[in-house]
Point group: C2
Chain length 214, copies 2
DNA sequence: TTTTTACTCAGACCACAGACGGAGAGCTTG
DNA sequence: CAAGCTCTCCGTCTGTGGTCTGAGTAAAAA
């Protein structure tokens, strides 16, 4: 049986080198390449077409989710294993929707990761307990995130609220009347099912909507 | 010259193994132990009294800052190098105050880390560019963080605001009158130099005051 | 073409938020 | 002891926030 061709994408040098060094001790795993950013990872993947890709989320240059999406377009058969530091509800499903095959945490042991790679090569996906729990929740409540119901304009207004702007300041910033702002705010509050702008701001922060500005 | 005795503390198995595997290739570095949590790290450090300790912040069981503090009590001569994933303003200075010797990011190359270890052993500390920048700011503006001016009670109220509670809800939760809550809120707003509770909530989230509840 | 959705704005209304001034009780510090 | 800080509470007043109802325009979907 041929060794599994693996690509490792992680912007943390030591982590990447470390994973690779470990995986090199595995006979049936072959490290064919490495990349230190999502963009680079997508390019390298296209060139090498590896069997399995170990992908970090949270990278500085091009997030792992974008990279996953790109790679899946080029190589629909690639098995991408997300390997990230902390469990983040907001990241899991975007990653899985982008085409990730497994979702592992770096708290996993080295053995678990190598078996995850081998299983991925066979087409078996590994589900972390925490991720499994979240998936159960998602299945139970297949709702969209409330803020996905917001229109573009409403999202703009919500970002402003998340930055602590008053209705007046928002109206000046977006060049619209205060009345209009109030309308938007009211709609936002009812769509997010919160009672006031402060809760809306909290919502925006908790759900990662402030990433651009924060 | 004797090899430098190094202890590696990181709750991510692959990361820890990876760092170790790499450092083993260095002749003048000797890995004497490893630990997968802050608490364990403190114990092991006491037993082994290593020269240099590579310490991850953000661990699930006992944060690296606490561990650093403990270790420095036991081994005032230990050089603790913080090695963490992401730069976090709120974590750097507590870590340095706790006695950390250097502050490195995992984006550093493996070479940088091994040289940091060697320099630490000699008594030279390595400062990441980002950390250096933050230190300059701290020196230029040796102000306390505004929220450090808050009293305990005010901080409690601020957390409530950060959770989107109204004055009424806060008064019920803390078993005090609404008037009292209003007084606290007013004081908080002026101390944080913000105009309304929404901005206060934003402040709380941006400055990591919601970590317990978030 | 008709219908729907998004964006805009208006007036009226009420409740809460927040500012300001004042005050008493308890606790620590000089 | 006196001074200072914290936490508590009161009354008053103004402005903003938010709801509700209603409505016009433009673009996209049916």
């Amino acid at each position: 049986m041929e060794p599994i061709r693996v690509l490792v994408v992680d912007d943390h040098d030591v982590v990447r080198k470390g994973i690779i060094t470990y995986l090199l001790t595995e006979d049936d795993i072959d490290i064919v390449g490495e990349a230190s950013s999502g963009n680079e990872g997508a390019k390298v993947a296209k060139d090498l077409s590896p069997d399995v890709i170990l992908m970090d989320l949270m990278m500085e240059n091009g997030t792992g989710i974008d990279a996953t999406e790109k790679i899946m377009k080029d190589l629909p058969n690639a098995k991408i294993i997300i390997l990230t530091s902390y469990y983040d509800d907001e990241k899991v499903f975007p990653a899985l929707e982008a085409g990730a095959f497994s979702y592992m945490l770096k708290t996993s042991s080295a053995e678990e990761i190598s078996t995850a790679i081998k299983k991925a090569a066979k087409g078996e996906n590994v589900i972390e307990p925490k991720v499994a729990g979240a998936m159960m929740n998602r299945i139970r409540t297949p709702d969209r995130m409330p803020h996905e119901l917001l229109t573009e304009r409403e999202l703009e207004v919500l970002i402003c609220i998340g930055n602590g702007l008053t209705n007046n300041e928002i109206s000046e910033k977006l060049f619209i009347g205060i009345k209009t702002v109030k309308t938007h705010v009211s709609n936002i509050l009812s769509k997010l099912d919160v009672q006031d702008r402060t809760q809306a701001a909290v919502y925006a922060h908790r759900n990662g909507l402030m990433k651009e500005t924060n």
